[in-house]
């Protein structure tokens, strides 16, 4: 869709609306397992492939483990919020601790082609759909 008067703020609102509408989606229903719902995850479709985004601000990359097997992805690690003892803390809202989350995707992914990227506090996982899982068109004879 091409709009001549593209309003960047409108684009954000429509993205937010779309995200909202998928809150009730059953796509991963019963398929996200393991302990605790941290980190929160958004799942997008990008052509045939899946892109997941997680909000994980301030994580040490060395303390983040990502494991993939068949259609299961495990993200675990530790989030630290440390201040020295001689400061007086006025407000404390950031959370810290261990997290461990496993996702079982309803599609088959190719574990060898999974790419992970951590930037600006967002963890992005590119999960390519396995070739064997892709739908095939059948020609009529």
């Amino acid at each position: 869709m091409i709009t001549t008067f593209a309003d960047p703020f409108d684009a954000l609102l429509s993205l937010q609306r779309e995200l909202e509408s998928r809150l009730a989606s059953d796509w991963l229903e019963g398929a996200t397992t393991s302990r605790g719902p941290f980190p929160p995850i958004n799942v997008f479709q990008q052509g045939d492939d899946i892109l997941t985004l997680m909000e994980l601000p301030g994580i040490d990359k060395n303390e983040l483990q990502i494991e993939a097997k068949a259609n299961t992805i495990r993200i675990s690690g530790k989030k630290r919020v440390d201040y020295s003892n001689d400061v007086s803390v006025h407000r404390r809202e950031r959370v810290s601790g261990d997290f461990d989350r496993t996702l079982s995707l309803p599609i088959q992914v190719d574990p060898d082609r999974i790419k992970a990227e951590y930037r600006d506090g967002l963890l992005a996982l590119f999960l390519p759909r396995a070739e064997s899982d892709k739908p095939r068109s059948i020609k009529l004879k």
């Binding site: 960047p8 703020f9 409108d10 684009a11 954000l12 609102l13 993205l15 937010q16 779309e18 995200l19 909202e20 509408s21 998928r22 809150l23 989606s25 796509w27 991963l28 302990r35 605790g36 719902p37 941290f38 980190p39 929160p40 995850i41 958004n42 799942v43 997008f44 479709q45 990008q46 899946i50 892109l51 909000e55 994980l56 601000p57 301030g58 994580i59 989030k79 919020v81 201040y83 001689d86 400061v87 007086s88 803390v89 006025h90 407000r91 404390r92 809202e93 950031r94 959370v95 810290s96 601790g97 261990d98 997290f99 951590y118 930037r119 600006d120 506090g121 967002l122």
Partner: protein
């Protein structure tokens, strides 16, 4: 075994604006930690998805205002399937109690965590008084 603290999800809080907005999009409050040392007030904010060119920090009339804009062009062409959080710009302001040297405010953004150091002006620093 040391105490293992399990992380719970914090729901994102939306900014409650005093003024009406002209932008139809939603703005969220970044979670913040504030601590004070002898020389400075430190503010740490979590703004995942914001890069360092999109942050605006201002101090006006004793109010510290932090704004972080999200680059949502990265989301174009993506079809959401399942969501657990919403995205938006970040905005938060704090009224500063102690006097801040506005020219010396330092900010650093690392992995979505913005750390601000607001140095106190000389006369606001605590002094030990000798008893004679």
């Amino acid at each position: 075994m040391p105490t293992r603290q399990e992380l719970q999800v914090q729901q994102k809080r939306e900014l409650e604006k005093k003024e009406e907005s002209t932008i139809p999009a939603r703005v969220f409050l970044p979670t913040a930690d504030i601590y004070e040392t002898n020389d400075a007030l430190n503010v740490v904010l979590e703004m995942p998805g914001v890069d360092k060119n999109s942050v605006d920090i201002r101090v006006e009339d004793g109010v510290l205002k932090i704004e972080g804009r999200l680059d949502f062009s990265k989301y174009q062409g993506l079809q959401p399937l399942y969501t657990e959080y919403n995205v938006g710009h970040y905005s938060r302001s704090f009224r500063l109690s102690s006097k801040i040297d506005q020219n010396k405010i330092a900010a650093e953004l690392n992995d979505g965590v913005l750390s601000l150091v607001l140095p106190k002006v000389e006369d606001a620093k605590p002094r030990t008084i000798q008893v004679k």
